[in-house]
Symmetry: C2
Subunit: 293 residues, 2 copies
């Protein structure tokens, strides 16, 4: 999908919040806000995908703040909180009688894990409160039955992960998937925003799972850009019978392509532009099978 | 008060909302957003008062949109809603036994009228709902007893009005004040934001009140800038025994000066920077006697 007018304001909001995250005094915040908004004005073009602008902007933020990982602390906090949720939800999954029921519930958990997003929401996001609220919701687009059918035919899945913290919710799903097929789990090669990197994947012990192979997207890139995908990840993509794409960044970028295999977009529509594109309401939960040959 | 880092984001939010108000298609909104954000970047300086930047920005918006009064429709709507409140609250005031009690209540009503602000809040603000909520609040800074003492000594008051709609709440107070002294009521000479002009004052029949003289601030200027105040209004200011200043714009600008008479700031602290400056919480209601000789 291409940027919408609202994306400009959302970027400006992220700039303000990161200024607050990185600097305590007004003068430093002013300097940062003016510099980064100048950059935003230069790079914002209506024909771009939001992730392209976001990648460019957050790289610039890393550069001028001389901070390779401005969200590291927030990522640690969300990993901690999500780990607790993982332990509770894992028990609830185990109590379910059939693999299919477990799978459907794990798909739902994976979607609500997408609530953990300090960019679309706020760096002050109350993760714990939000997650508890989402647990009582239902999926607005629910293609889980199709997912089960696709899985029956599948030997390999490629799973594009999204945020730190969220990956503990993905782990619940990946553990089930890895019982029946091979899973390539793709993180960001280098830190960008609060996206999960190898460090987060290892914290969630995804590297310890049988039948799971950790790969990366080739850099500090929000979403998926096939131009920069490493050969190994490209081969995994080709091998996969279908794709799981977590979150808005992966949706924004992958929905620009057409594929010869289904892509499941698992996300919470946290902003109006993405909600509109998916024809749902803001805050709706989505498990959407996308397949345009 | 001087701008804070948050003011940049607030301005960017106003730009987005006005783009939505003025244009239906994405391309026009993009053009507007990019142009006006470029202007914002040029004029935003940390040593300025928010109203100076706001005035400059909203004049530019009028210029490039070729619309002398972009908020006219919203101002009409808020006048309509406020008129209904006026009729109800007027009866409640009349039921009170003493002038002092009426006055205290009218001061409170004038403060909650300041809720009507499409800049600090949103152009989608549900005025009716917000006002009803505020009616159950109390003043966080409550200098009404001092106001009553000052009024006993006063022959003349100058009253800087703020927003359209809100002036119906001011009318409740002005009617009482005009029973005991002369009131100069100051509107904006030309449209800027949703600020009240002569047109709104006449809609509220402020021009029909005995002992009330309508004046203006000299142009399409947010708040009060003494450099541009017409001679008549300057003379009224000098004649006045004390000053009533409604809303955040008048507060931001008047708090930059020192005066030889008290200024009563009647407002709702609708943003963090103003709340912080007044040492209250965001959304708090304030009737504050400011007097630095």
């Amino acid at each position: 999908m291409k940027v919408k007018p609202f994306c400009y304001l959302c970027a400006s909001k992220q700039i303000f919040e990161i200024a607050n995250l990185l600097y305590k005094d007004d003068q430093s915040q002013f300097d940062f806000i003016l510099k980064v908004n100048k950059k935003l004005l230069e790079i914002f073009k209506p024909n771009l995908v939001p992730t392209q602008i976001g990648t460019n902007l957050h790289r610039y933020i890393k550069l001028i703040s001389k901070n390779e990982d401005p969200f590291r602390n927030l990522k640690n906090i969300s990993n901690e909180i999500s780990k607790k949720f993982y332990n509770i939800l894992k028990l609830q999954l185990e109590a379910l009688p059939s693999f299919e029921e477990k799978l459907k519930k794990a798909l739902f958990y994976s979607v609500i894990g997408n609530t953990i997003d300090f960019a679309a929401y706020s760096t002050n996001l109350d993760v714990d409160k939000f997650l508890k609220k989402d647990l009582n919701q239902t999926l607005k687009i629910d293609n889980r039955d199709k997912f089960i059918l696709d899985l029956k035919q599948a030997k390999t899945i490629i799973y594009f992960l999204d945020n730190a913290g969220e990956i503990f919710f993905d782990k619940l799903l990946i553990e089930l998937l890895s019982e029946v097929c091979k899973v390539y789990a793709v993180v960001k090669k280098n830190p960008i925003l609060n996206d999960a990197t190898y460090e987060d994947a290892r914290l969630a012990s995804l590297d310890k799972l049988k039948n799971v192979v950790l790969l990366d997207n080739g850099g500090d890139i929000i979403g998926v850009d096939f131009k920069y995908l490493p050969k190994k990840t490209k081969r995994a993509f080709e091998e996969a019978d279908f794709v799981i794409s977590k979150g808005m960044g992966n949706y924004e970028s992958l929905s620009e392509y057409t594929f010869s295999k289904p892509v499941y977009f698992l996300l919470k529509a946290k902003c109006q532009p993405v909600a509109q594109e998916l024809n749902v309401n803001k805050e709706d939960l989505v498990c959407y099978r996308y397949y345009i040959k």
